[in-house]
């Protein structure tokens, strides 16, 4: 990616979908390994776990979406693997629906307050 001056090291975006009740635990685990920030969003998750049925006023229906929490974390490329591993081990319950982790490249990260770039921005 020539078009960006690489002040600071390359950073990665880690997107993870986990079970809501694991959020606090995962956040603590990540803080303890030095992650300093993230964005958390409630999402409706669809996956193999989905599809159990409920009854409402006598009518059966399939619950296609299960509540999940999505984490978006940008970290220096160097930390990425450790972060993925930490999330995986912490969020794991060995039950279906534990979630997924995805890693993406980031061209550039900026801290709004200071204009710092890339991993200085985190």
């Amino acid at each position: 990616m020539p078009e960006y001056p690489l002040k600071g090291n390359i950073v990665k975006l880690i997107i993870a979908a986990i079970k809501p009740f694991k959020l606090e635990e995962v956040r603590e685990a990540l803080t303890s390994i030095g992650v300093r920030g993230m964005m958390v969003t409630e999402v409706k998750g669809f996956g193999s776990q989905s599809g159990h049925t409920e009854i409402y006023r006598g009518a059966e229906y399939a619950v296609n979406f299960v509540p999940k929490v999505k984490l978006e974390i940008v970290v220096s490329a160097a930390m990425a693997d450790q972060v993925v591993e930490t999330i995986q081990t912490t969020a794991k319950t060995d039950k279906i629906g534990d979630g997924k982790i995805f890693v993406l490249d980031v061209n550039q990260a900026v801290r709004v307050r200071t204009g710092e770039l890339n991993d200085d921005a985190l």
């Binding site: 409706k44 409920e54 009854i55 409402y56 006023r57 006598g58 009518a59 059966e60 229906y61």
Partner: protein
């Protein structure tokens, strides 16, 4: 009982039961019973008024959030229309005294209600009954209740204005006419039909108007898909529960006030019986619905429990005085069972009743009417069925005609896109919960 309702308009005073009892007890002053019965109507009236809020909350809680503002708007508007139409036409059409156009069938048309003069003197008062003002106030609330029932069934897809036009006709003409047959001293009361507080006259009647509408209007988009029923869960069960508690409270006025007298030991003691029985029937209906859904579906269904309490109340409404507490219990319990079984049944028939008003008001209303002879003397199952059928047929047919006319003239249903996006944004441009993310 009901007959005495015509007295304030008729002139006869002599044979009024309440007064008689009073004199037996050789106690009542001339005016105290009048004051107390008037007070009963005022208290009963504001309690039944409160039911309008109950319906509004129940329905707002059971529709999806994209239709909440509309449901609230309909409920405020329908009550307001009922208040005006019942004054303009309804009250004297329902209580014509001797002013029947067609004896026993159609009362006085277009005679707006007027009340007694200010500072009425005792000599001019219907001392054996109550003030016209209090009677009008109390009766008006029953009329509005009938309309509230309709709005729940037709929620989430009917246009605002056609609905309100129907409400005007229902509250101004349909309800007053059918109710006059019994409470106005019309042919049903002659026949010996018995409906103390209106399981048929108010609740089933509202249910029939709703049923007619549901047929003409059709189900919500996506409600029935390749033979299956797709639930559309209510957006706010706290609101729905609040609405049910409000209705439960208002029902004490609904049934208790229908004693139409509080000036004697006998009357006030009867009102007490009615309060106790009404509460028992509601409790039994709720509890049975709780147990039935646990047994049938393995998980209790709160919305069914709420419907069950209301079905218990509707069931006891035709005869809240005569049954023992145990009688109230089992009559209400059957009402609770009825909703649990008829709610899915209606769905199988593809009749989309958003809040379950038809099982609660029409079907439990039939049950309550039918059950009267178990405890009330001089009533017969046959007469009860005939009365229910007469009122049902009349309300259903007339309502159908009006719904059809509205449909062909102005259309009664919103566009598909509007229905999917919700009536709130489409018809009102205003969300009930603009800040809460919808799912």
């Amino acid at each position: 009982m009901k007959l005495t309702k015509t007295l304030p308009l008729a002139t006869l005073v002599a044979i009024a039961p309440s007064l008689v009892v009073a004199q037996e007890a050789a106690v009542a002053t001339d005016v105290t019973p009048y004051i107390l019965t008037t007070l009963l109507f005022l208290i009963g009236g504001f309690l039944v008024f409160w039911m309008a809020a109950g319906f509004a909350m129940l329905e707002a809680g059971l529709v999806r959030s994209k239709n909440v503002t509309m449901q609230l708007t309909k409920n405020v508007a329908l009550f307001s229309i009922a208040a005006i139409m019942y004054w303009l036409v309804g009250f004297n059409l329902m209580y014509p005294g001797d002013g029947w156009i067609i004896p026993g069938i159609v009362g006085t048309l277009f005679a707006p209600t007027s009340l007694e003069a200010v500072g009425l003197s005792a000599s001019d008062a219907a001392l054996d009954y109550a003030s016209v003002g209090s009677d009008f106030f109390f009766q008006l609330m029953f009329c509005a209740t009938t309309a509230s029932i309709v709005s729940g069934t037709l929620a989430e897809r009917i246009k605002l204005w056609p609905f309100l036009i129907f409400v005007a006709i229902l509250t101004g003409i349909i309800y007053p006419i059918e109710a006059s047959w019994q409470w106005g001293g019309g042919f049903l009361s002659e026949m010996g039909f018995s409906d103390f507080a209106g399981s048929t006259l108010v609740h089933a009647a509202g249910g029939f108007a709703a049923l007619a509408g549901a047929f003409i209007l059709g189900p919500r988009i996506g409600k029935y898909k390749d033979g299956r029923t797709i639930p559309m869960p209510g957006s706010n069960l706290a609101l729905a529960t609040l609405g049910t508690f409000i209705l439960w409270l208002g029902w004490f006025g609904f049934n208790g006030g229908s004693q139409l007298a509080m000036g004697t030991v006998g009357d006030v003691t009867d009102v007490s019986r009615i309060f106790a029985n009404t509460n028992m029937a509601a409790a039994a209906g709720a509890l049975v619905a709780l147990i039935a859904t646990q047994v049938l579906y393995k998980k209790p269904d709160l919305t069914m429990v709420l419907n069950g309490a209301l079905a218990g109340l509707v069931s006891i409404t035709a005869g809240p005085l005569d049954p023992s507490l145990f009688g109230a219990l089992w009559i209400g319990a059957v009402g609770g069972l009825i909703v649990v079984f008829t709610v899915p049944m209606l769905d199988r028939m593809k009749i989309d009743d958003v809040v379950g008003a038809i099982p609660v008001h029409l079907i439990a209303g039939f049950w309550g009417t039918l059950a009267v002879p178990f405890y009330t003397e001089d009533t017969s199952f046959l007469t009860q069925i005939i009365g229910f059928a007469a009122i049902g047929a009349f309300v259903f047919v007339v309502s159908t005609v009006i719904w059809v006319i509205l449909k062909v003239t102005m259309g009664i249903r919103v566009s598909e896109e509007d229905e999917i996006n919700g009536l709130d944004m489409a018809e009102l441009g205003m969300e009930a919960y603009p800040e809460f993310h919808k799912g």
